[in-house]
Structure formats: C-alpha cells, structure tokens
C-alpha cells in the first residue's frame, strides 16, 4: 500500500539546493509521512543534510556525472526506480524547467497521472486533491487521481517551507545511477546565457515590467532607470519578448517567470491573463496605463491612468528623492 511522500529535489547551477526544494519538503511534510527526498545530479551529495534540515526523513542521493546538466533520458530510469522502490502515495516536483520536462514522462512510465503547476495541495484520506490554475489563470481546477502514485509539480513560491532545523535527524542513502550512456539518446551541443543585468527577477523585491504600451525597445530605458533607483529588476510581457524588444529571460507570465516581489510596477501592460498568472502571488501591483479599462487595473492596488512617458521620469525623480531622505 503506497504511503508517504517522495520529493524530487534539484540543485541550482552553482551547486546550492534550489529554493523550491524547501517548499516541496514543507508541502510534503503537511501531506504525509515519511517524507523521502531524492537528489539526482552531479555534486549534489553535500546538499543531503540540508534536505533533512528542511523536513526530509530520508534522502536518497544519486550523485553521478551522467546526471550532470539535466538530460531526461539519464534521469528518468533513476527517477522511475526510486519511485517504484519508495512506493509513495504522493510524488512532488518543482514546476521548474526540469520538473516540467521530467514529471509528465515519469508519470507515463509509472502508468499514472501528474497535475502540473499546482498552487494548493491537500489530502483527503489517501487521496491527493491538487489545485492548479488553468485557462491562462482565469480559472482554477481541482483534480483527484485514479491511480498511484499521485504526482504533482508545484509552482515556485506557492508553498511555505519549514523553518530550517539543523538538529533534525534523517537517514541518508547513496545509490548508484546505474544508467548506461547508450540510454541517453539526446545530446546537448551547447548552452548559452541570455539574461538582463541587475537583480534576478525571481528574487527581486521590486519588479518594474514593461509591455507593448512602451511602443518599442527604447521604452525600456526609463524602466531600467526606475528599477535601478528602486534596487529592483526589470520584467517584460510575453508580447514584447516575442517582438524581440527585451530578452526572453525577462518574460513574466505563465510561459515565463513567476515573480513574487513586494512591489510590481506594470507599465504599458494590459494584463492578459497569461501575464497575470506570473504575478498571481503579488499583493502590491501598480498599474501605469493610458487605458482606464485595461484588465490589469482590476488587480492593481494603485493605478495611474496616463502616458507612461510623462509619468516615469518624475516618478523616478521623486523616488530617488524619497530614497535619499
């Protein structure tokens, strides 16, 4: 009889535990026991103890160079084996570039389903009820599963982590990957970075975002200036990234990044639901838009109706003055 929760952890590129893992372990500990954490990757072994401190009762570490630079074909056989051995009722992934790719494929290999991008999870007996946004954030759907395990990917920052407790005890088990290089059918030829300068969008406490209303790539300059004065990051709507006005890595929305700043300033953004899906956890939205009917205004705590070109420079100036005082 399947029981407990299996969390698949992941590391950041610079070898730290991805913040979503603590959130997954927090969610897992509220859903059932024991909470087992699987850490797959290269150089991940030092992160096992932190998983325990964050709520894992047991950590299965598979530290192998074949798992470096995530490739589904290498990770899937290991994930499938651990899932079968652990026989958990619930399996959790982060809704990250890795989770999005591996979770559906693992579900198929296990003959079960996965609810993607969940924002709320609860147990009814041994049944997981998974709540997730759909229709570009216009609606929410709640699902139950017809089989086991019940797999969910969890939206970043949607779940509370536990307090870190370094005195927590847990079992740490090492396993070999045992994957033949021949099993990996895809080959990564190259990777290249494309990221705007300044604060990381996902971590920023202030985000200033621009949309089609800016009229062109040059419209981002005053936004960057305001973001700099506020110590924040610059985001962009999907429309302007698709138009090439701003780097794709700055895209906020359903198919871009989920951001959770204390303050989100949306300039010339109409507020298409797919964009709003990226700011669904933001409490303080400022909308600067010439259209008083723009959808974003309904979600905004503060709205300024007018021409951004005339509003941004004095706004930046006043903010600079207030910051200095």
């Amino acid at each position: 009889m399947a029981s407990g929760v299996l969390v698949f952890g992941e590391a950041t590129e610079d070898g730290r535990l991805a913040p979503v893992v603590a959130e997954l372990l927090g969610a897992g500990s509220r859903l059932g026991t024991p909470v087992v954490c699987a850490l797959l990757g290269s150089g991940v072994e030092p992160l096992a103890q932190e998983c325990v401190a964050r709520g894992a009762d047991k950590v299965i570490v598979v530290d192998d160079s074949i798992l470096s630079g995530y490739q589904a074909d290498a990770c899937l056989p290991v994930a499938e084996r651990i899932s079968r051995e652990t026989d958990a009722a619930v399996v959790l992934f982060g809704q990250t570039i890795v989770g999005r790719d591996i979770a559906p494929r693992l579900a198929q290999r296990l003959g079960t389903a996965v609810a993607m991008d969940c924002v709320a999870l609860e147990m009814e007996g041994d049944k997981l009820v998974a709540e997730r946004p759909c229709y570009g954030g216009n609606a929410r759907a709640r699902y139950t599963f017809n089989g086991m395990p019940q797999i969910a990917t969890v939206r970043v920052k949607a779940q509370e982590p536990l307090e870190r407790d370094d005195s927590r005890q847990g079992e740490i088990v090492k396993q070999a990957a045992d994957v033949s290089p021949d099993a990996v059918r895809t080959r990564v030829v190259s990777r290249r970075k494309e990221q705007a300068e300044g604060a990381r969008l996902e971590d920023a406490s202030v985000v200033v975002s621009g949309g089609r209303g800016l009229g062109g790539p040059e419209g981002f300059e005053p936004l960057e200036e305001l973001a700099e004065v506020l110590g924040g990051a610059v985001g962009a709507s999907r429309a302007v990234c698709d138009l090439g006005w701003y780097p794709v890595g700055s895209q906020v929305g359903l198919t871009g990044k989920m951001v959770t700043p204390d303050l989100y300033i949306a300039v010339g953004i109409s507020g298409a639901s797919q964009h709003m899906a990226g700011v669904s956890q933001v409490k303080n939205i400022v909308a600067i838009n010439k259209d008083p009917e723009a959808g974003i205004i309904k979600s905004a705590r503060f709205a300024v109706v007018g021409d951004w070109k005339e509003i941004l420079p004095p706004l930046t100036e006043k903010v600079r003055e207030l910051k200095a005082s």
Binding site: R105, A107, V304
Partner: protein, 263 residues
C-alpha cells in the same frame, strides 16, 4: 522525404476578455461566449509553423496534422491546412469527448503509429485551455522515442533533429536521432497567417476521419478526475492616483508607495 506530424488542439479563444470568462460549476466546463469562435491552440499553430519552416528548406517534406476532438476541431485543422500543411487526420469519436490528457495522448500515439513511418512529431508546449503541458511528452513516452520539450527552433537534417530549448536564463542546443517528439514554445515567433488562396485550397482538402476502432483501440481510461472548476476571486480594491498633471500623479504615487512602506 521527411514526414512531420503536428498535433493540433482546439481551444476557447484565449483573447476572450476576462470579464466574459465564465464557468458552469455543475458541468465543470467553460461556457462558450456568444460570437467568439474557438481557435487552434496558439502553441499548436506554432507547431505547424515549426514544421512549415522545415518544409521551406526541405521541399519534399510532408506535414500531417492530427487532432483528437469533436466535430468543431475540423475548423482548426482547416486553419492549419491553410497555413500550408499537406494532410489532416481527425480522430473524432464520442468515446473520446471526455478524454483527459492521458487518454488523448494514447489516442494521438495510436494514430501516429498508424501514420508511420514518421520522422518528427511536433506538439505545442501546452494547450492554452488547461495549460497542463503533459501531452507532447506523454506521446513521446508511449511511442518510446526521444522527447525535447519547450523549444524555440527546430531544425531537421537526415536522421537528426536539432532544437534550441528555452532555459530560465538562456538557451541550449540539443539534438536527437529521428524519429522523435518536440514541443515548441512562444519564443519560436509568430505563426504565418493563411492567405485567401490558401484558405480556399484548404477548404477543398479532405480531412480523414478516424474512430477509436480505426486506431485498434477498444476503450481508453482517464487517469484524473476533474472535481471542481471555478473562477478565483482576484479583484482588489484599486486606488486611482489622480492629479492635475502627470508629474503630480507621479509624485503622489511615490508618496503613497512610501506611506505603504513599499519603497
């Protein structure tokens, strides 16, 4: 002669204003808005676009469109035919009208096997109705072929597909042998819009209609149950910052943000 299969879903128009978006909580369905026609899912027109870009370079490419859905899906297949695809197959069986993502993926995979040989299957990264993002990868797993997800560029050469995957802070170039499955993302760019002449030609093209029996499938089981569908309340009380001049509005906004301890 490469054979590319593109999976196409039909969805309620995502440009429908949020104010008109309503669900029927009893049937757990989105209510159609009068006067707004359903459209092919945006990422699926991009899948078609990706296939057409390959066909632009490799002239003897054949593009087959594939849909699993009710009668209205025919319109979306016609749209993608008019974009320039060669053939269309519509798996239309009442037994599949309530199919979940996994039942749909099984029907798609069975149809793809019936359409074999194929070199490449292209799907959208997710459909713009449920936003689940599982069908493409699941189809690949059922077919037992390599899968590359969330890509913005798809290149074909004999026996090999090379894609650019979209990462949070950049891109990676990945290649896989054919046959394989690729899902495409919005970073691919704009899909071409059919010209009138193409629409008229597409109108005359036959859409093959298949049933579950044609696929050799008896029944397909759903793996999830939709328990509830509702519209969340996201509205907040909005404070409009007024002023005689934009500069006055700007100053007032800055002061309000300071009062609210947000700056």
């Amino acid at each position: 002669m490469p054979h590319i299969i593109c999976c196409v879903k039909q969805v309620p128009d995502p440009e429908t204003p949020s104010s008109q978006f309503k669900v029927d909580s009893a049937t757990k369905k989105v209510l159609p808005v009068p006067g707004i026609q359903p459209v092919p899912s945006q990422f699926d027109t991009l899948a078609t676009e990706a296939a057409l870009r390959i066909k632009d370079k490799v002239a003897d490419t054949t593009i087959t469109l594939l849909s699993v859905g009710p009668d209205s899906y025919r319109d979306s297949l016609k749209h993608c035919l008019a974009m320039g695809a060669d053939e269309a197959v519509h798996v239309n069986d009442p037994a599949l009208y309530e199919a979940d993502h996994w039942a749909t993926a099984e029907a798609l995979a069975a149809a793809i096997q019936k359409l074999a040989p194929y070199d490449l299957v292209i799907c959208g990264r997710q459909a713009t109705d449920w936003d689940m993002g599982v069908v493409g990868a699941t189809v690949g797993e059922i077919l037992g072929v390599p899968v590359m997800t969330i890509t913005k560029d798809v290149q074909y050469e004999d026996g090999k597909v090379t894609v650019e995957r979209v990462l949070p802070d950049g891109f990676e170039t990945v290649e896989a042998p054919t046959p394989c499955v690729v899902t495409v993302s919005n970073e691919l760019g704009e899909p071409r819009y059919p010209q009138l002449r193409q629409i008229m030609m597409a109108a005359r093209k036959q859409v093959k209609a298949w049933t579950l029996a044609d696929l050799g499938l008896a029944e397909i089981k759903n793996r999830v149950a939709l328990r509830e569908l509702f519209v969340p309340d996201t509205s907040v009380k909005t404070e409009f910052i007024e002023g005689e001049t934009p500069a006055e509005q700007a100053e007032k906004l800055a002061l309000r943000l300071r009062e609210a301890k947000l700056i």
